[in-house]
Subunit: 335 residues, 2 copies
């Protein structure tokens, strides 16, 4: 095992004194730009992270944790935050949240804002900031995001197995007797994993896959591609699907909306399964069967891992994968 780099290693590489490194880590204004740059270059190159003790002595501990998400309008993170709170309560850490666009007006990545605020640790729950977090050297854990690339390969990842979730949704429809099951998918790594689970299940069942991809992950785009898919029966090019798996809940609502416009009853003539078990799935008008990745449980696990890093100085922590579950409601009927 490689020896953990110390502040002396950073000082040597940067050609400065240990106390100057300490000043840079505290964001002191009393440092020239050239020296600051040399120190930060050395911190990155050596992958240096201040130990808890050293940070404590240098007065840089704020007992706060920054959470970086991609988008505040994705409500998944609200539940994940509740789990993080449970875990971080023990260590007495305060939480701050930023999304990728929160400080876009400054042209800076959220990690930069959190560094300026001297957070002790980072929970990375979005894809956009991954490279910047890797460069920052701030102790971090990845929540709910996979395959972030080699830069972040050493960070522990706490995530739900989304391919298993896509498989689960598809099998649920097959067990109800459906054979013409389509998938309404979207761009992005998360949608791709859910779609792969669908394809795996369809292959396993010996059925024919039908995947249509909307241009984005929103309701309107899904409504449009679903309308095309469902209207196909008219031209008899392909059998109309009797069931659809949509890779998120707003897209599933789009599918239901398209069906309604065409006079296709849900679940009478078409069964629909969504993903994420968001609040809208439980609305009476929607009553959507959905896959839940239990974000609260994930958040709690991520908080525990981060505390282990911050308090114990642990460097090698295993990633953890959680299996999603199905939440049955009124949008699926037997075929």
């Amino acid at each position: 095992m490689k020896k953990r780099p110390t502040i002396y290693d950073v000082a040597e590489r940067a050609g400065v004194s240990k106390s100057l490194v300490s000043l840079v880590l505290r964001d002191s204004p009393r440092v020239s730009d050239a020296k600051r740059e040399a120190v930060l270059e050395a911190v990155t190159a050596l992958n240096y992270t201040p130990s808890r003790l050293a940070a404590g002595l240098a007065g840089t501990r704020t007992r706060s944790v920054g959470v970086i998400i991609d988008d505040f309008s994705n409500l998944w993170f609200v539940e994940a935050l509740a789990g993080l709170r449970t875990a971080l309560a023990e260590g007495g850490y305060a939480l701050s949240v930023a999304d990728a666009s929160l400080n876009a007006h400054l042209g800076i990545d959220p990690i930069e804002a959190f560094r300026a605020l001297r957070v002790d640790g980072i929970v990375l729950a979005g894809e956009a900031s991954a490279p910047a977090v890797a460069r920052s050297g701030v102790p971090a854990v990845v929540l709910g995001v996979r395959d972030l690339g080699a830069e972040l390969a050493e960070l522990p990842v706490i995530a739900s197995d989304e391919a298993a979730g896509g498989r689960l949704a598809t099998m649920h429809l097959a067990v109800q007797g459906h054979r013409d099951i389509a998938c309404v998918s979207a761009p992005g790594a998360s949608a791709a994993r859910r779609e792969r689970g669908y394809c795996d299940a369809i292959a396993e069942l010996g059925l024919t896959p039908t995947v249509v991809r909307a241009p984005d992950t929103g309701e309107a785009a899904a409504r449009e591609v679903a309308a095309e898919l469902l209207a196909r029966a008219e031209s008899a090019q392909a059998p109309r699907p009797t069931a659809v798996f949509a890779v998120n809940d707003p897209m599933a609502v789009g599918v239901i909306g398209a069906a309604r416009e065409l006079g296709i009853a849900v679940p009478g003539d078409l069964s629909v399964v969504g993903y994420d078990d968001s609040p809208i799935a439980a609305y009476g008008l929607v009553s959507l069967t959905s896959v839940s990745g239990d974000p609260r449980e994930l958040g709690e696990a991520a908080g525990q891992v981060l505390i282990a890093k911050l308090e114990g100085g642990a460097t090698q922590i295993a990633s953890r994968s959680f299996t999603p579950r199905l939440v049955a409601r009124g949008s699926v009927a037997a075929y």
Copy 2:
């Protein structure tokens, strides 16, 4: 006009030196609990706010602004943040966001976490933290929340006129020929203002008001009270309303869900108007006519006011009220 208190006034009242006050304001650990308490008591009593210059000299400027909201799952704030960003880009301020429950695990108010992070200013966009913000002495502006009580009477309030919004929704239904217009309301100051607008319009029109109040602001609670209201026709105690104004969009979706369960067509047999113009209102399955408070515009105005306070040291800034507008979709028909 009262003279603005200085750091010397605080030091004199607390019985300590000016530099000790400065240490406390920088959250230095090198201060005894007793002295820290005395200084914070004096800061509160004198309503002391460090001037920009003094703060700059003391090294306490972080060029960051904290936004306090009640609940991350209310998407109103996502648009308001976009407006804030536009305004704060000029001053180069970074943004952080916290909701009332984000640091509930520590038993501290979000304002305390923001003080620890040394934010320069606060945007208060929720009701829960109002008293703590008033005590904190951090320069603040109130966004979207009214009637916070005498403690905060001196803070500028940038808000939408929600009574005007309730009136607008009701008048829109009346113009379409509806005479039996009910209001599905909820607890909370915001719902109360929207309901008051409804009542004012109904009185002005010489109609009879029907207000039912759900136990909370959610979809399920609204669905339940709407089901009761719409089933009344059976017992012939009162005419069934031909139109409903719900005080937020999820509640309006609850009303539509209840109507559907009872075989009442929307908008054929029942017109529905919601409030907030949230993403769900634009979903094809929902297609909800709603009132928009233009949170982006509000956010931008609030950011401008905060910059005026932080940069110009302005102490007397007028509050501003914005008039909401109606966004017509498919949930209203002529009677």
